[in-house]
Symmetry: C3
Subunit: 435 residues, 3 copies
C-alpha cells in the first residue's frame, strides 16, 4: 500500500465511533478484513485479566446537550468526543450551575473538545469547548440526553493476523490500539500503518512469523497477553505503532532492555533518515508499557512520528485528518517494514570450520592472485572478513555491522553469500540477552 | 543531640589521655555510657589478631623533660602528645647531643607538637616544638623522666551498641577510633558524631540493626572483626567516621566496591549539599582499610569533613578544640544519619502481580478520568510508573531514583505507598552485588 | 643481539628465495640455526589443514623473459619477485599481445616490480615494471623460460624454539612468517627480530615458556596450530611480528579480545615511547588472523613498525634493505622483549593472610614510627598499599598499575618484595578472561 492508500483507508476508518468493548471496534475490523485476513477474539465483559476486569460493552445510539431554548449545543452524532467514553445513560434537565461539573474542556485551547473516558467508574460527562463552558448560564436550564448502553454480557474484541515465516522459530509482534474514536494521528494512523505492514508481507518472505495485533489499548493488549502467555517465549521483537501519520520526526522509543535486537535494528534503520530520533525507554506512553511490565519484560519498542502527548492536537478534536498525510503515513510504514526486515535477518552465525580462515579462492570468493585487501578497499571485502571472524555464535549481524562500521545490508548480504558457500550457518538464537 | 551538645561532649572528652590499650579508652567509654548503653570487650595484651598482636597496656603517671637548670621543658600533664605513644619507662640524664635523636618535631611547623606512636617497637621518645629542638644545647645536660607502664597482662578495650531494626535481617556498621590522645578533629569529633548517631536512633525505627563501634584504630577494629567473623554476612553497609568536625567540606570516600549501596546512598545524600565531595576508594586513610581488606571486602566507606592528612593541624597539637565547631559537628551527624536512613530504606521491590500495569484507579491511586501523565507532570506520578516498572527484584530504589532522575525520598515514599496498596513487596536482598 | 647484528643477519637472509613450501625456507632456517636451536617440522604437500591443503613444494632453477632480439628483459636470478610465486614450468615463445595478460606491474609505481603469488591455482606469470610493460611490442615475439618444479611429494617446513620458563605453567608465543622472497621489511625484518628475541632469553629467566615460531604465512601457521591443538590452552599471550624494521612508529595491533593481558602489557610498554601507536583489532592484516579465528580465539596481537599495506614499498621490489635500519630493528626487538617481560610478570596475587592489613613493621616494611603515608608520598609506598588491597586473586598487576596510576615496573617490584616477605603469593591463573 502506498501512502495515498493508507490515507484513503484512514479517511474511511476515521468517523467510526470506537471504544474499548463495543461495535466501533468490530466495524473497524470489518473494514480491515477487506484487506487482510483477521482472526478475532471476543473476551467477555467481566473477565478478570491480571489486575483488570473487562468493562461492560458500551454502545451509544445518540447523545445531545440542549440549551435553554432547546437548541443543540453538543451532539454525539457530530463528534463522538462530546461524550465521555463509557458514559452511563442519562436524561436530565439541570441548571447551568449543576451541569458545569459534568463538562470537560481545555481552558488553554478554548476552541477544541478534549478526549476523556471513564472505563472503570460509572458516571457520565460531556466534553465541549471552553467557549461553550464560558457561555453556560448558571441559572438557565439545560437538557442532557445520553442514550447509551453498558452491557455486562457484552465483550471486548481484538484481532490478529499472522504472516508465517519460512523458519517459523520466532515471532515478531506489531501492535496498535483500535479504541480511539475519531482521533486521526493517535488512532487511525497506527491502524492503517499496521494493516499496511500486514498486507506488504508475503508468507515465507521472512524467517520469523510476523503477528500484527489490533486491540483496544491496555485491557485489550493485556487480554492478548493473557491468552498467549504460553507462547511469549517465541517473541524475538515487538513494535507498538501509534501516532504514526503527523509531520513530526520518525521516533523510535527503546524497549525496556535498551539494547535488544529490535532497539539496535531500529537504530540501524533510523540512523540514515534525516530528523529521525531514538528515545530511551520511559515507563509511560503507549501500549509498550504492558509488554514491558516486569512480568513479561518483552523486547518491545514503540514507533511513532511525534510521540503521544508531545503535539498540541493530542487527545483533542483537533487531532483530525488534517494532522496526518499520505507522505508521512507512507514513510512510517517504510521504516516499520525495514525495522522488521532487519530484526528478522539479524542472525548470529557460526563458522562451519571455525579454525583458521577459509581458503577463499577454493570457495569462489576471491581471484587466484593474492592481492592486498587494502588495495581493494571494498566494503564487501571488509564485511567478509568481519563476518568470518565474528561468526562465533555470539555476535549477531547488527553487532558485527556496528563494530565494522559497515551498513547492515552489506553485512547481511555477505553473511548470506557465506552461508550459500557453506562457510557459515545460522547459530541457534537470534535474540541475545542485553548487556 | 544538637551541634552544641556534640561540641560540649567533645570538650569533656578532649583532655582524656587515650591510647591503644589503656585507661584512657576506658575513661572515654565511661563518659559515653552516660549517654548510650555500651557493651565492652576486653582483648588481652598478647592476643594474636590476624597478622597483629595486641600490644601491652600502656598507662602513664607522668613524664617530663627538664633543662640544664631543672626547668620543665615538656610535661605530659600539660599535653600528652609530648610523649611518644607507648614509650617505655625511662629516667636518664643525657647530653643535648644524646637527647636530640629522641626528639620529634616539625621543622615546617616550628610551634606545634607532632603526634607520634611506637606501638610495636619498644623505645621511648618525646614530641616537642621545633623551637625547643633548636634551643637544645648539645653540651648541656637534660633530664628525662617517663613514669609509664607497659603491662603484658593488660588488655585493649572496645565497645559497641546496637540499635535493633524492625526487620533485623541486616546490619549497618558505624565505626570510629577512640585511641587518639587530645586530638580534636582526628579524635573526639568522630567519637561524638558516632555517639550522637547512636543516641538519635530509636529501636525499631529502621529496618536494619545499626551497630556503632568505638574501638582503637587498626588493632582495635581488627579485634572487633576477629570476634565477629561469623556474622559479617549480615553487614549490608558501613561507614567509618573520623575528622568529623572541621570547617572543610563534607567528604565521603567510597568503599572498595565503588558502587555499593552505601556509596550510592552517600552520593544521593551529598549531591544536594553545597561543597560536599565524593572521593574514590584509596587503600590508605582510616579504619575503612581494615574493613576493605580483601579477606573481608565489606561495603564500608568513610565520612569526614577534610579527610585525614589534608589539613595542616592533622596529627599535631594544633588539632585542638578550635579546629572543630558545633555547626560542623551537627552537619556531619545530619549527613551520617541521612545516609544511614537511605541505605536502610534502599530495598528492591517485587510486584505482587508483575504482568501488566495495575489498574490504578481500583487501588485509589488515580482519579476516575484518564488524563495524560505528561499534562500532570508531577514527580510523584513519574516515580510511581518507574517503581511499578522496575519492581522486578533486581533494581533497588537508589537505582530507580538514578534512572528516573527523581530524588530518592520521592521514590521511597511512592514505593512505600505502593507497598501499602499491596501492589509491591520488598524483594529478598537489599544489598546488591556491585557492577 | 644489537641492532647492527640484526641488520647484518637481515642482509644475509635477504637474497634467499623463500616461498611457502620449498628449499628457500629451509636455507633460511639453516642460517637461523647458527644462532638458536630449532626444531623443524615437515608437513607433506597434500596434507589437509582445516579448510586448506598444503600446496606442492615449489623450487625454481631459473626463469627468464627474453625480448625479440634475445635480450634478457627479466631474470629470476636478478630478482626472484620477477616470477609469480608457484608458477608452473613453461617454455614458450609468444607474441607481445599474448604475453601481456601474463605480466603483472603497478601502473602507479612504474619502476618497481610487484610481489604476486598463485599458491592454490596452477598458472604462471611474470612480475615486471610498468615501464617494461609499456615497451612490449604486440607484434614482436618474446620467449619465456620457467624452469620450476611443483612437487606433489614435497613438504612445507616450519621451525620453532622453546625457551623454558621457571614455572612452565603457561606459554607465550612469538610468531613470524618466513615465506617472503627478497622482501626486507615484510620479510627478513620480522625473522631477525623474532630470532633476536629467542637469542636474548635465558632458560629459566621468565616464569612462562616462550615459543618462537618461524613458519610460512597462513598455511604454515595453520599447520603449527593443527599439530598443537591439544596444548593451545597453555598459551597465555602471543605476538605476531612482521614489518619490523622501517622508520615508521612502533605499532601494536590488539588481539581479538582487545583487553587481553598481552594488549594491556603492550599498552603499558608503548605508552612511554614517543610516536608509538595502539590499533584496534581488525580481521585482516598478518598471521594474527589465524590465531584469532573464532575456533582458536587466542589472545594474540601483532607488533610492527608501519603496519602491512600502509607504506608505499609494501609487497614490491622497493621493499629492499634500504627500508630497514639497525636502529629500528633494535627498537622493535627492545619493545617486543619488554612486552614479553611484562606479560610474563603480570600475575594476580593473593594475600597469605587476607584479613586486615599486615603489620608492616613486623615484616621489615616500615619504620617503627607511624608516619603519614601522604607526608612520604613515595610511589613505592602507594604501590604497596594498592597491591596489598587488590591481592585478592582477581586483579592482575597490570590492572593494579592502571587503577593506581603507577608504572607497572614499580608495582611489580613491590609485589615481588611482598612475595619475598611472605605477605602475598601468586594466584592460580595469569591470563584473565576479557571484559
Amino acid at each position: 500500500m502506498e501512502g495515498q492508500d493508507l490515507y484513503d483507508l484512514a479517511e474511511r476508518l476515521y468517523p467510526i465511533t470506537r471504544s474499548l468493548p463495543g461495535e466501533g471496534v468490530r466495524r473497524t475490523l470489518d473494514v480491515l478484513e477487506e484487506l487482510i485476513p483477521l482472526s478475532r477474539t471476543e473476551v467477555p465483559s467481566g473477565t478478570q485479566i491480571y489486575d483488570w476486569t473487562v468493562p461492560p460493552e458500551w454502545n451509544v445510539r445518540q447523545a445531545t446537550l440542549r440549551g435553554p431554548g432547546g437548541e443543540v449545543l453538543a451532539d454525539y452524532a457530530a463528534n463522538p468526543l462530546h461524550l465521555v467514553g463509557h458514559s452511563e445513560p442519562a436524561h436530565v434537565t439541570l441548571l447551568g450551575s449543576e451541569l458545569r461539573p459534568r463538562l470537560h474542556a481545555l481552558p488553554d485551547h478554548p476552541d477544541v473538545i478534549p478526549y476523556r473516558t471513564s472505563y472503570y467508574e460509572r458516571t457520565w460527562g460531556l466534553c465541549v469547548t471552553q467557549e461553550l463552558v464560558d457561555a453556560i448560564d448558571d441559572l438557565a436550564e439545560y437538557e442532557v440526553e445520553i442514550d447509551s448502553s453498558l452491557d455486562e454480557h457484552g465483550s471486548l474484541t481484538y484481532a490478529e493476523t499472522v504472516i508465517p515465516g519460512k523458519a517459523g522459530t520466532g515471532e515478531i509482534l506489531v501492535a496498535t490500539h483500535v479504541c480511539h474514536p475519531q482521533l486521526a494521528n493517535d488512532g487511525v494512523a497506527g491502524i492503517v500503518v499496521a494493516a499496511g505492514l500486514a498486507r506488504s508481507l508475503e508468507p515465507g518472505a521472512l524467517r520469523n512469523d510476523v503477528r500484527v495485533i489490533f486491540a483496544p489499548g491496555s485491557i485489550g493488549m493485556l487480554s492478548w497477553l493473557h491468552r498467549n502467555e504460553a507462547s511469549l517465549g517465541r517473541v524475538i521483537a515487538g513494535i507498538v505503532v501509534s501516532n504514526a501519520g503527523d509531520a513530526g520526526p520518525l521516533t523510535y522509543k527503546q524497549s525496556r532492555h535498551g539494547d535488544a535486537a529490535v532497539d539496535r535494528a531500529a537504530a540501524s534503520v533510523l540512523v540514515g533518515r534525516e530528523h529521525a530520533r531514538i528515545e530511551p525507554f520511559l515507563p509511560w506512553g503507549g501500549d509498550e508499557r504492558q509488554f514491558s511490565s516486569p512480568g513479561f519484560d518483552l523486547p518491545v519498542g514503540a514507533l511513532s512520528r511525534t510521540p503521544p502527548g508531545f503535539y498540541p492536537e493530542y487527545h483533542t478534536s483537533a487531532d483530525d485528518l488534517s494532522v496526518i498525510s499520505p507522505g508521512d503515513l507512507g514513510a512510517t510504514l517504510a521504516a516499520l517494514r525495514e525495522i522488521v526486515d532487519v530484526v528478522d535477518a539479524n542472525l548470529a552465525y557460526t563458522r562451519t570450520e571455525p579454525r583458521g580462515e577459509p581458503q577463499l579462492s577454493r570457495h569462489g570468493l576471491s581471484g587466484a592472485m593474492t592481492t592486498s585487501l587494502l588495495a581493494g578497499g571494498e566494503e564487501e571485502r571488509r564485511a567478509l572478513f568481519w563476518v568470518l571472524n565474528l561468526a562465533d555464535g555470539h555476535h549477531d549481524l547488527l553487532e558485527i555491522a556496528a563494530r565494522a562500521q559497515i551498513p547492515f545490508q552489506t553485512v547481511r548480504e555477505v553473511a548470506e553469500a557465506l552461508e550459500g558457500a557453506g562457510l557459515v550457518r545460522p547459530a541457534a538464537a537470534t535474540e541475545r540477552s542485553p548487556g
